[in-house]
Symmetry: C2
Subunit: 203 residues, 2 copies
């Protein structure tokens, strides 16, 4: 068991800013590995080897494998929001279709997301549970606001409950991405387009 | 490593029928444990201890932990179909709402399903992948037939593609069950009712 301050690079540079930078470098490298390979049930040590970082360095920044997995997914999602944002005027369902299409190019991250959500349902996986619960709550709140705005602007049927639609759209997007990865014949786009058309959305 | 014929009970009784019966007994006990506890990332040995079956006996019937998990989920699903079938006239979406409600009472099995699907996305998990791929294909085919029948009978809008609706309904049901387990405030029923109403389904 290494001491938590065992990252030699970090000790040498010895500043908080350098520590933050180094953590980000590790996450950046980890994102590439996970995008390609997924979680694969590997240990923190095996992950360190795959991204070329010592186990000691990983232990310095992440208490557990699960904490690293959560950090990798969060960082990858933030990066996507910055590098490939939805164009203005994207509808609620449209934003989910965009996300599904983007994610299909990085199956490892879809697999990582699915693994984290599965872990969140198990006892004793607090990091995964906190991540999944907070993420669902945030995405739901964003979608409820967007659905209500579309309804108020007369661009979506107003006789459907915004919260029910938000949960439905998230579930549809999550579930369709999994089906798509397992069967290339299942494309989320037409299913989400059906849903959008039924909701009377004008693009 | 035990030999694959190391179940003493099985050797004593020494018949194929007894072996099938014993395997079913193990699955029955395992279903109870998983319904309550979920997969919990336990080893085959720990699972054996939890259900009071020797590791040798488990190894006799199941080559791996993953094979046991798949068998437990399949057996639990079959049992539900026999003990709590959908009443005649249940709609395609209605059957998913029923399943979601039934499954909520056994969160361990929802967690087991989610774990198996997450594993199916990882390389080298052939048992989970075969299970998930076959199950999605089967449920999709059943739902496509049902949607087409409802459309032909004038009980569902005919201007939506049956295959797109089938994938959408499965995804919605899977995803909503996960959100429900993580947040009791998310009930799949109203979301699935919105979808059914939008599809113009007459119950």
């Amino acid at each position: 068991m290494e001491s938590p301050s065992a990252d030699p690079d970090d000790r040498r540079r010895g500043s908080y800013a350098k520590g933050v930078e180094r953590r980000q470098e590790i996450l950046d490298r980890a994102i590439e590995v996970f995008a390609e390979r997924g979680a694969e049930g590997t240990s923190l040590r095996a992950i360190g080897e795959a991204i070329g970082v010592s186990h000691a360095a990983l232990r310095h920044y992440f208490d557990s494998r699960e904490q690293l997995l959560v950090a990798v997914y969060r960082a990858a999602e933030e990066r996507t929001h910055i590098e490939d944002p939805n164009p203005p005027g994207t509808t609620a369902v449209g934003s989910m279709t965009n996300a599904a299409r983007r994610n299909h190019a990085v199956p490892g991250l879809v697999q990582l997301y699915t693994t984290l959500v599965a872990s969140a349902l198990e006892r004793g996986h607090d990091d995964a549970r906190d991540f999944a619960t907070a993420r669902f709550a945030r995405v739901r709140a964003e979608l409820v606001a967007q659905v209500e705005a579309e309804q108020a602007a007369g661009r979506m049927r107003a006789d459907v409950d915004a919260a029910s639609v938000a949960s439905l759209v998230i579930a549809a997007s999550d579930g369709l991405q999994v089906q798509w990865l397992l069967d290339p014949g299942v494309d989320p786009a037409p299913s989400l387009e059906v849903l959008e058309r039924l909701l009377g959305v004008e693009r």
